[in-house]
C-alpha cells in the first residue's frame, strides 16, 4: 500500500456565489499517477489548482476545509506559497514557455531559489531536460528561443522547467489536450517514468488516457467527486451509476 502524499478533507470551493467544489475528500498516493476525469466544468481543474494554491490568484475564490501535504496544512497561515509551489509543481494545458532561451527557461526555477553557480545550473538543466525526454532534441540549440520549438516540444520543455526545482508532486492540467497524437504519446510515456520519483496528478478529458497511464482515478461531476478508486476498479467495476454512464460514453 502506498503512502498518502496529499489529503483533502471536506474541501469546499466557491467562485463568488457559485459552489464549484462540494465537500471533496481524497487521499492522493505517493509515487503514483492519479487522474481526474469528468465532463467540462465539473471542477476537476479547479480541484487540481487548490492543491498548490493557484486559485489564490483569482480574487473571488473562497475555500473551506483542509488540504495537507505530508501532514502539513497548506492553507494555514504562515505557509510560504513560494515554497509550496516549489514542492508541488504545475504543468498547464497550453504549453507556456517563457520568451527566453531554452536553457533560461529550465534554469528559471532554480534561479528563483537562489542557485547561481553556472556548473550547477548546467547540471540541473541537463538532468531536467533528460527527465522530460527532450534533451537530445534541444541539446544543440540551448541558447535558441524556446518559442521556436513545436507544441509538443514546448510542453516537454515546460515539464523540464517544472522538474528543475525538484518538486515532490507534479500537477498536470490537461497537458496533452493541445498536442498532436505523437507528442501525446511521448508525454504519456514520460509520465509512466516520472512516477518512480514523483507523485503525479493529472487532469484529463480523455478517458482512455486516464485508463492507460494512471494508477488511481477520480470521477468528478458538477463539483462533486462521485467516485475515487484504483483505475482498474473504476473502469472495470464502477460502483456509481453515473461513473458507469460516463465511462461507457453515455454522456460527457
Amino acid at each position: 500500500m502506498l503512502a498518502n502524499k496529499i489529503i483533502t478533507k471536506d474541501l469546499d470551493l466557491y467562485y463568488g456565489e457559485n459552489h464549484a467544489l462540494k465537500t471533496v475528500n481524497m487521499d492522493i498516493k505517493e509515487k503514483a499517477v492519479t487522474a481526474f476525469i469528468g465532463p467540462s466544468g465539473c471542477g476537476k481543474s479547479t480541484f487540481l489548482k487548490t492543491l498548490n494554491r493557484m486559485n489564490d490568484l483569482i480574487p473571488s475564490v473562497r475555500i473551506e476545509g483542509t488540504v495537507t501535504l505530508d501532514g502539513e496544512d497548506i492553507y494555514s497561515q504562515g505557509v510560504d506559497t513560494t515554497l509550496l509551489r516549489k514542492k508541488i509543481g504545475m504543468v498547464f494545458q497550453q504549453p507556456n514557455p517563457f520568451p527566453m532561451s531554452i536553457y533560461d527557461n529550465v534554469a528559471y526555477g532554480p534561479r528563483i531559489h537562489g542557485i547561481k553557480h553556472k556548473a550547477q545550473l548546467d547540471e540541473i538543466v541537463e538532468k531536467s531536460l533528460r527527465s522530460a525526454a527532450i534533451f537530445d532534441e534541444v541539446k544543440d540549440r540551448m541558447k535558441k528561443s524556446a518559442l521556436g520549438l513545436s507544441g509538443g516540444q514546448q510542453q516537454r520543455l515546460c515539464i523540464a522547467r517544472a522538474l528543475a526545482v525538484e518538486p515532490e508532486v507534479l500537477l498536470m492540467d490537461e497537458p496533452t489536450s493541445a498536442l498532436d497524437p505523437i507528442s501525446t504519446l511521448k508525454i504519456e510515456d514520460l509520465m509512466a517514468e516520472l512516477k518512480s520519483e514523483y507523485t503525479v496528478v493529472i487532469v484529463t478529458h480523455n478517458m482512455q488516457q486516464a485508463a492507460r497511464i494512471s494508477d488511481y482515478t477520480a470521477f468528478f461531476l458538477v463539483g462533486e467527486m462521485v467516485e475515487f478508486n484504483t483505475t482498474d476498479e473504476i473502469f472495470a467495476r464502477p460502483k456509481d451509476k453515473r461513473t458507469e454512464d460516463y465511462i461507457t460514453g453515455r454522456f460527457g
Binding site: N52, M54, L57, P59, T81, T82, L83, L84, R85, K86, G89, M90, F92, Q94, N96, P97, F98, P99, M100, S101, Y108, G109, I112, H113, K143, K144, S145, L147, G148, C158, R161, A162, A164, V165
Partner: protein, 308 residues
C-alpha cells in the same frame, strides 16, 4: 443551359465603387502632400541658417553670434531630468494598477483621471508648474521647475503605454512563473518587464517627442536662459538656472521677426524628431523578447565581422 448565365469575365464595376476609390486616393495624396509640403518648406527656408556656428555658439552681442548651442543643451537637460523622474514613476504606477491593485472602482477612477490629465492643454500645466514648483517650492524659473512640470505632462503617456504593454503579456507567463514558486515581484522583474519592454520604450520615446515639442508648459517654468555652463559645477548648477529649450528659442526669434533663424531651429527640431522615430524602431526591435534568435543571429554576424 440557363440563358441568364453570367460569364466570369463580365466587368461589374459599380460607379459608386469607382468614386469612393478615387476619393480615398485623393485623401491619401492630400495627407502626404501636406506633410511633404511642410517638411519641404521648413528644409528650404531653414537650411541656410543651419551651419556649424549656428549649432555651436550662443546668442551674444559681444561676439556677434546668434547660435542655439545653449538651447540644444537645455533641451537635452530637460529630456534627461524629466525622464529620470517620470519613467520610474510611470512604470511603477502602471505595475501597481495592472498587477497589484484589485480591479474595481478605484483603478477605473485612477485610469480615467490619467486619461483626462493627458487631454489638458499644456499651458495649464505651465501655469500650475509656475505657481506650485516655481513659487511655492521656491524653484523659480529653472530647468528643474520645467522638468517637474513636464513630468506631470508625460506621466500619463508613460503609464498608459506601460499598462497597455503589460496587458499584452499572456497570463500563461504569469501562471508559469508563479507555478514554479516565483514571488510576484520576481515574476514581474524577470518575465513581465522584459516582455513589455518594447511597449515601455515606445511610451518613453513618445514622451521624449512630447518634451522636445513642448513650449507652452515651459515658457513660464524653465524660462528662456541660453547661457552655456562654464565649469563642472556650473553644469550641475544649471539644473537650478533658467534654461529655454529649442522651441522657446524659436518662439523668441519669431517674436523678433527673425524668421530665418526660427526656420533653422525648426529644421533642427525636425531632424531630432526624425532621429527619435528611427531610434524607437530600432529599440523596440532590439528589446523584443520574441525575436531572441534574430537578435542573437545579428550579434554573431557583427562579431564575425570584427574578428576578420
Amino acid at each position: 443551359m440557363g440563358t441568364n448565365t453570367v460569364s466570369l469575365y463580365t466587368k461589374r464595376r459599380r460607379l459608386s465603387d469607382g468614386i469612393l476609390t478615387a476619393l480615398i486616393y485623393l485623401c491619401a495624396s492630400l495627407a502626404i502632400c501636406l506633410v511633404a509640403g511642410i517638411v519641404g518648406y521648413v528644409v528650404v527656408r531653414g537650411v541656410r541658417s543651419v551651419n556649424w556656428t549656428f549649432l555651436t555658439t550662443v546668442q551674444s552681442s559681444k561676439n556677434n553670434t546668434f547660435g542655439i548651442a545653449g538651447n540644444l543643451l537645455n533641451t537635452l537637460y530637460i529630456i534627461v531630468i524629466t525622464l529620470l523622474i517620470a519613467t520610474p514613476l510611470g512604470i511603477g504606477a502602471a505595475i501597481y494598477l495592472n498587477e497589484y491593485a484589485k480591479p474595481g472602482k478605484l483603478v477605473r477612477m485612477i485610469e480615467f483621471t490619467t486619461e483626462t490629465l493627458s487631454g489638458i492643454p499644456s499651458i495649464i500645466f505651465g501655469m500650475f508648474g509656475m505657481v506650485f514648483f516655481g513659487t511655492t517650492l521656491h524653484l523659480g524659473f529653472s530647468i528643474l521647475t520645467g522638468a517637474l512640470t513636464l513630468t506631470l505632462l508625460i506621466l500619463p503617456l508613460i503609464t498608459r503605454n506601460t499598462q497597455e504593454a503589460l496587458r499584452t503579456v499572456p497570463d500563461s507567463y504569469r501562471n508559469g512563473a508563479l507555478g514554479i514558486g516565483a514571488t510576484k515581484w520576481y515574476m514581474i522583474r524577470t518575465i513581465l518587464l522584459p516582455s513589455a519592454m518594447p511597449g515601455i520604450i515606445t511610451g518613453v520615446i513618445l514622451a521624449i517627442g512630447r518634451i522636445v515639442g513642448e513650449s507652452a508648459a515651459l515658457i513660464f517654468t524653465a524660462g528662456s536662459g541660453y547661457i552655456l555652463p562654464k565649469s563642472l559645477f556650473g553644469a550641475f548648477h544649471k539644473i537650478l538656472e533658467s534654461g529655454g529649450t529649442l522651441t522657446i528659442q524659436m518662439y523668441l526669434r519669431m517674436t523678433n521677426a527673425k524668421y530665418d533663424d526660427a526656420f533653422g531651429i525648426a529644421l533642427v527640431l525636425l531632424i531630432i524628431v526624425l532621429g527619435i522615430n528611427c531610434l524607437t524602431k530600432f529599440l523596440t526591435k532590439r528589446f523584443d523578447v520574441t525575436r531572441l534568435d534574430e537578435r542573437r543571429g545579428k550579434q554573431k554576424r557583427v562579431k564575425t565581422k570584427v574578428s576578420k
